[in-house]
């Protein structure tokens, strides 16, 4: 990173007293608070787990092979994200655009799996108001899906900026922060996949 680029970053986002970019400090703080948000949803699911008196029950309806595939897709989107950041930092615009597009495609694929799963569950009789499993499941995975959607919109904006040549190495912090958000969505799913799907 050139001195000009670093200075631009420092001026744009302002160093805190720590010498660190304030945007990044603020975003990590936001992610810390997001941990609490998802902890409340996960604990709600765990508390009500097994409390349903009417079906469908988790072991009857959860599709492990399908969700394993969607989990793999989301993990690979994290790889694409880190490669996109690498491309921006190295000033390789086409490479950065390609990997940003891949993150969007893989994120969209994950959402497609989730829409299919939700649709399938509703046809099987599991709705948000059917039982406590349905309520806590749809709220938890629905909020995660909403986070994925926000991430896709954010990355689409960055992708368009990249195509227009507006993502120079000096703008790497913008991509890095979007990447932090995307990886956070990924680690939340790692937890959900284990606690909700595998530990039934």
């Amino acid at each position: 990173m050139s001195e000009t680029a670093v200075t631009a970053v420092v001026h744009d986002h302002g160093p805190a007293s720590t010498g660190l970019p304030t945007w990044k400090v603020g975003f990590w703080t936001f992610l810390g608070s997001e941990c609490l948000f998802f902890a409340s949803l996960i604990s709600t699911y765990m508390v009500f787990k097994g409390a349903s008196t009417t079906g469908p029950f988790p072991e009857e309806i959860l599709n492990i092979p399908l969700t394993s595939l969607s989990t793999f897709v989301l993990l690979m989107s994290s790889l694409a994200m880190v490669l996109a950041l690498d491309g921006v930092q190295r000033g390789k615009r086409k490479l950065a655009s390609f990997w940003l597009a891949m993150v969007i495609v893989l994120g969209g694929t994950f959402l497609g799996f989730q829409v299919y799963e939700f649709n399938h569950f509703v046809h099987e009789g599991l709705t948000i108001s059917r039982n406590v499993f349905g309520s806590s499941f749809f709220v938890l995975t629905g909020f995660h899906g909403a986070h994925v959607t926000v991430g896709i919109i954010w990355l689409t904006v960055l992708f368009i900026m990249s195509l227009r040549g507006k993502l120079a190495p000096g703008d790497a912090l913008k991509v890095e922060i979007a990447g932090l958000y995307w990886h956070f969505v990924d680690i939340v799913w790692i937890i959900i996949f284990t606690l909700v799907y595998l530990l039934q």
């Binding site: 160093p15 609490l36 902890a39 993990l75 994290s78 790889l79 990886h183």
Partner: protein, 110 residues
């Protein structure tokens, strides 16, 4: 801290934290393999008694790898680690406390 010091620190951090593309592919490969192992463990009946500790351990390893290498916490300032781990610790405590209160204690009381 002067601008030149900030520039020097940013360059040092970048040099220290900039992993190679091959390294990221390796991490992704390991994450994929761990996911496959998780699913395999789920279907092996003989492992059912140890299912919870095995899956929680594998999940924790995946979580740590993404945070350390993809989110660069291993290479970045400890301030970020502190801020994130603070929220994560409180969140984990909330989950464990509520599960113990509502799932395990009622069973123990009969």
């Amino acid at each position: 801290m002067s601008t030149s010091e900030i520039v020097a620190e940013a360059q040092t951090r970048e040099q220290a934290g900039h992993a190679s593309v091959g390294f990221y592919w390796t991490i992704a490969g390991i994450l994929g393999v761990i996911t496959a192992v998780e699913v395999a463990v789920f279907y092996i009946d003989a492992l059912e008694p140890a299912l919870v500790p095995i899956l929680l351990t594998l999940s924790a390893v995946k979580f740590a790898m993404v945070v350390m290498f993809f989110m660069h916490l291993k290479f970045d300032s400890k301030v970020f680690t502190g801020v994130f781990v603070a929220g994560l610790s409180i969140g984990t405590f909330v989950v464990v406390a509520l599960v113990v209160l509502y799932q395990f204690l009622p069973r123990l009381e009969g």
